[in-house]
Each structure stands twice: as structure tokens, then as C-alpha cells.
């Protein structure tokens, strides 16, 4: 596909997405769409560090949670939402900076389990300090409308996709991919691996913080501990892998598929069945289809031509 064609298609999709709230008035549909966009932002942010840089960060929920909690608190105390969102993203990035140096001393698998444990620690702490649900005050609940929430998640999703797309075509992106393929070789070839990994980590966690902020703005009532729940990480990871790890379009397809499956299965089967289906798909992808759905489409196209 040529570049102009690609940009035209993306432009048309964005325009359609912008017009959706004008046409669609069903709240359930709007909720699905908002969630899909939220998942696109979250999974794309994970894709940068886990897919492009190959550092499977299983503690992504920690940054999502920090962003969500701070945005929620600031917003409910009267800070303008955009300001609160920036603060949430910054807080997630600062935390990433603090733990980034020690965390990246851990190589490979130790990084993965280290980050997993870190997020669990935060969840336990916030479950204990803030055991009560945060409910929107009645004044805000009365004015609750999905349209601004939809637009906010659209903006964040576009930001995440755009940013990761830009990075994937830059020197930073190349460096990250070289680290993913062989860290020692990259280091030997003159890539400052720690600096590259940290930069990717900061951008990724900042986006996760923003996604958390969107969720904080969206949720009518939420337990603070739930914002740190490992599910946020796990959903992002399976979406990225099933969609196609290390590609721009993969997390987008994965998110659409994930939310669709979630909603459809929840109509007929007990809640959580979509995790079962996606878990099986995930294992299958890891074992037999490393490119995910995107890889499958490419393969089919190749066979057809």
C-alpha cells in the first residue's frame, strides 16, 4: 500500500470515528466503542515496550493505576480535566523513572517477573489504604454523558497510535527493535541500550497513565484497588499478542476483536468466558502463529497471490 493511500484510509477512519457520536445514540454501543478505544490506547502503549523493545513488562497495571488514581482524585477535587490528565501521565512517568533504573538491571525473564511483582505490591497497598469505592458525586452523575468520554478516549487512542507509529519509523524504533532481537549485539553495535529502553519505558508508561486517566473519567464507581488490578496488564498483553505483537495495526485489531468477543460472549455465557477464549488464542499464537492475526492475514494474502 502506498503512503498516500494509507493516509487517506486513516483519515477516512478518523472522520468516521469523529462522527459516530452524532449518529449513534445507543448507550451500550457507545460504551463498547469507548472501551475499544481505551483498550487500543492501553495495548498500543504496552506494544511499544513489550512488542517493539521486547521487554515484556507485566507491571503495566501499576502505571495505568497511578494515572487513574491521580486523575480521579485531582478531577474530583476540582482540577480541570486536561490538567489532571497531564499530571496523571507525569506521575506514571516519574514512577517509571524511579523504578526504571533498577528494573532494567534485570535482564530478560527477571525483568518480567520483577515488574509483575511490583504491580502486585502496589495493588495490595492500595487495596489496603483505600478499601472504599470511589463514586462520582451526584452532581457529576446527573450530568454524566458518554460523548465527552468517547471523544477523550478517541484522542488518547489516536495519540498512542500516532506516537508509536512515529517511533517505529524513527531511529529510536530501530534501536528498540535491535534490542529486542539481540541486546548484547545492539550494545556492541553502539546502541545505548539503557537509554533507549528507558525512553521507550517512559513513553509507554506515560500513555498507560493517560489511558488510566480516561478510565478514571469514564468509571461512575470504582474500587481504587481495581485500577491497579493485574487484569489491565493481562488484557493489554493478550490483545497485543493475539492482534500481532510489534505491529501498529495488531493492537487495534486485537482490541476490536477483544471487546466484541467480550460483549457477545457475555450475552450468553458466564462473565469472563472471553478471557478463556482469548487465553486459548494467546497460547495458540505464542506456539504456532508468532505474528498474531496480522501475521495470519499477511500469510493468507501471500498464499492468494
Amino acid at each position: 500500500m502506498s503512503n498516500t493511500k494509507r493516509f487517506t484510509i486513516s483519515g477516512i477512519i478518523v472522520v468516521i470515528l469523529l462522527l459516530i457520536p452524532v449518529v449513534v445514540s445507543r448507550t451500550d454501543l457507545m460504551t463498547w466503542l469507548t472501551f475499544t478505544l481505551l483498550y487500543i490506547a492501553l495495548s498500543q502503549s504496552w506494544n511499544l515496550i513489550g512488542g517493539y523493545a521486547g521487554q515484556q513488562n507485566l507491571g503495566h497495571a501499576a502505571f495505568f493505576g497511578i494515572g487513574a488514581l491521580l486523575v480521579r482524585t485531582l478531577w474530583l477535587y476540582g482540577t480541570p480535566l486536561p490538567l489532571a490528565l497531564v499530571a496523571g501521565a507525569l506521575a506514571a512517568m516519574i514512577f517509571a523513572l524511579i523504578i526504571g533504573f533498577p528494573a532494567f538491571r534485570l535482564k530478560g525473564v527477571y525483568f518480567i517477573i520483577g515488574t509483575l511483582v511490583l504491580a502486585e505490591i502496589l495493588k495490595i497497598i492500595f487495596d489496603t489504604i483505600l478499601p472504599h469505592a470511589s463514586v462520582l458525586p451526584s452532581k457529576l452523575l446527573n450530568d454524566y454523558s458518554l460523548t465527552p468520554r468517547y471523544y477523550l478516549s478517541l484522542v488518547i487512542a489516536l495519540l498512542a497510535v500516532g506516537l508509536v507509529y512515529g517511533i517505529s519509523r524513527s531511529k529510536l524504533g530501530l534501536g528498540l527493535m535491535s534490542i529486542r532481537e539481540d541486546e548484547d549485539a545492539a550494545e556492541a553495535a553502539g546502541v545505548d541500550t539503557l537509554k533507549y529502553k528507558l525512553t521507550a519505558f517512559l513513553i509507554s508508561t506515560g500513555l498507560a497513565g493517560l489511558a488510566g486517566g480516561v478510565y478514571a473519567y469514564f468509571a461512575a464507581a470504582v474500587l481504587p484497588g481495581h485500577m491497579f488490578a493485574a487484569e489491565w496488564t493481562f488484557d493489554a498483553v493478550i490483545i497485543v499478542f493475539v492482534g500481532g505483537v510489534g505491529t501498529i495495526i495488531g493492537p487495534i485489531i486485537g482490541s476490536i476483536f477483544f471487546v466484541l468477543l467480550q460483549q457477545l460472549l457475555n450475552l450468553f455465557l458466564p462473565a469472563g468466558t472471553h478471557v478463556l477464549v482469548f487465553g486459548i488464542l494467546f497460547i495458540f499464537v505464542v506456539l504456532y502463529l508468532p505474528g498474531g492475526l496480522v501475521g495470519l492475514i499477511h500469510k493468507l494474502k501471500k498464499n492468494a497471490s
Binding site: I113, G279, I280
Partner: protein
């Protein structure tokens, strides 16, 4: 005061033996075949449920049914290995660990959902008629079930130790863990060794699951919690050290029990913090060699 300290200590050891048992299987599979199975706790959960249903439906005492659970979980583990992990055996070590972790992660997503469909999300406990009973020595209470649990843990770990050190098959397991290519050249069937080792690991997890069901509670989602405990213990002990895993389990159990007095609910995070600190500064573990 002394009684309180002693009681805390005893409680810590009761729990700690369980941690050790939960960790041994993980340590074995990681040490021998470089498979880091995040789904380890799920096998524990399955083992607990098997024992629960044996008691509920057939009236089989969990301690008598222990060998049955071990055999069932051994077969279950061997099949899981064949299905999910055997394709990894040819990979380069670093790649293998990472992929095994992702597959274990997939099992962690799938198993609880299946368990929820089969057995609902209710919390269950294995309660034979003698559960809850205890006897005092010098003012310290010893529960029958926790004490039996410690005994089972010690026996299982000793048996595993002797099996690895004294038998011919144990020798082939150790050989494979040191260098699987050389082992293959010496005529050891590496694939079969891997499958059986994985089965032994899951069988031990299943036995630990019985004890979890007896002393705490079971639910489809309990797997991750125990995987984390097992990971802490494994890292504390040094990867692949079977005896060390048991002692590290005891240490963690006692630390948490003592910590609960001073830190209340945060004591659960204590183990995780220790884990991170060890990972940073002594990755070879307390009992491991650098």
C-alpha cells in the same frame, strides 16, 4: 509473650512448609528444563479441587487420597507438557524461558476460567471430620492438619531429594539439567526426561494444593497468589535448589507470620518486597552459588 512468639513461629512454619512445597515443583522445572511456568499455581489449584471432590463425592480422606491426586496431577502435567511446552525444547535458552513464561501466562488465563465453569467461583475448603482439631504443648497449640501438612511436605521433599540423588532416572534428570545436549549424546531420552520431570513438578504442586485446601481455601483464582509465593521462594533459595526451596519457604512463612504482628495487612507485600530486593542484589539466591 514467649508463648505468643512461639505460637507465631509455629504458625509461620506451618504455612512456610506449604510455601516450600509449592515452590519445589517450580524450582525443579525451571532448574532442569529452563521452563518458568507462571501457570504452576494453576496445577496447585487443580490438585486441591481433585482432593476436594474426592472427599465430597466419594468420601476419600484427603491424606489417603494423596497418592491418587499425585498420580492424576502427574498425568495432567505430562499431557500439558506435551501439548504446550514440548515445542519449546529446541529453542535457545533465553528465548525458551521467555516463551515458556508466556505460555504459562496463557495457562494462568485459561485454567481459572475452566475451573469457574466446572466448579463455580465459590470458595471451598477441604474439611474432613478432624479438621480444626488441635492439641497444646507448653501452651502452644498444634493443629492436627497443619502438623500433618508439615510432615507431608518434609516427606515429599526428602523423597524427591533421594529420587534425584540415588536413582538412575534421577541421575539422568540431573545430567539433563546440566547440559541437555551432552545428555542426549550419552543416550538419555531428553524429551521423556523433560516430560516426567514436568509431571513430577505438577504432582508436587497438586499435593501442595491438597494442603492449601485443608489449611486455607480454594477458589478458581487462587493460582496466581501461589505462583507468586512460589516465585518468591524460588528466587530466595536460588533457582534449581530443591532443598534450599524448602528452607526458603520456611523463612518466608515465619517472616510473614512475624510481619503480620507489626505490619498487619501489609505483611503480604513484605514477601514481594524481599523478592525484589533479592532479585536486585543477589540474583543467585540466598543458598545459590554465584
Amino acid at each position: 509473650m514467649i508463648a505468643l512468639v512461639a505460637q507465631t513461629f509455629v504458625n509461620g512454619i506451618n504455612v512456610g512448609a506449604l510455601y516450600g512445597l509449592a515452590a519445589v515443583g517450580l524450582s525443579l522445572t525451571f532448574g532442569v528444563m529452563k521452563i518458568l511456568n507462571i501457570g504452576h499455581g494453576e496445577f496447585l489449584m487443580v490438585g486441591g479441587y481433585v482432593a476436594f471432590w474426592m472427599l465430597r463425592l466419594a468420601g476419600i480422606d484427603p491424606f489417603i487420597g494423596l497418592p491418587i491426586v499425585a498420580v492424576v496431577l502427574f498425568l495432567f502435567g505430562a499431557v500439558s507438557y506435551k501439548l504446550f511446552f514440548s515445542t519449546l525444547s529446541g529453542f535457545h535458552e533465553e528465548q525458551k524461558i521467555k516463551n515458556s513464561l508466556l505460555i504459562g501466562f496463557g495457562l494462568f488465563l485459561v485454567f481459572p476460567q475452566i475451573a469457574r465453569l466446572l466448579w463455580t467461583g465459590d470458595e471451598r475448603a477441604i474439611t474432613p471430620f478432624y479438621s480444626g482439631g488441635s492439641f497444646p504443648i507448653l501452651g502452644i497449640r498444634f493443629g492436627y492438619v497443619p502438623l500433618a501438612g508439615v510432615l507431608v511436605a518434609v516427606i515429599v521433599i526428602l523423597a524427591l531429594h533421594l529420587f534425584l540423588k540415588k536413582t538412575y532416572f534421577g541421575k539422568s534428570v540431573r545430567g539433563t539439567s546440566e547440559n541437555w545436549k551432552a545428555a542426549k549424546l550419552m543416550g538419555i531420552n531428553v524429551n521423556r526426561t523433560y516430560m516426567i520431570t514436568f509431571g513430577i513438578g505438577t504432582a508436587i504442586a497438586g499435593v501442595a494444593g491438597i494442603l492449601v485446601g485443608l489449611t486455607q481455601s480454594l477458589s478458581p483464582g487462587v493460582g496466581m497468589e501461589w505462583t507468586l509465593k512460589a516465585l518468591i521462594v524460588v528466587v530466595l533459595a536460588g533457582i534449581g535448589s530443591v532443598g534450599g526451596a524448602f528452607f526458603a519457604g520456611l523463612i518466608l512463612g515465619v517472616l510473614e507470620a512475624v510481619g503480620a504482628i507489626f505490619m498487619g495487612p501489609y505483611a503480604v507485600a513484605l514477601g514481594l518486597v524481599i523478592f525484589l530486593v533479592i532479585l536486585m542484589f543477589r540474583p543467585q539466591g540466598l543458598f545459590g552459588k554465584a
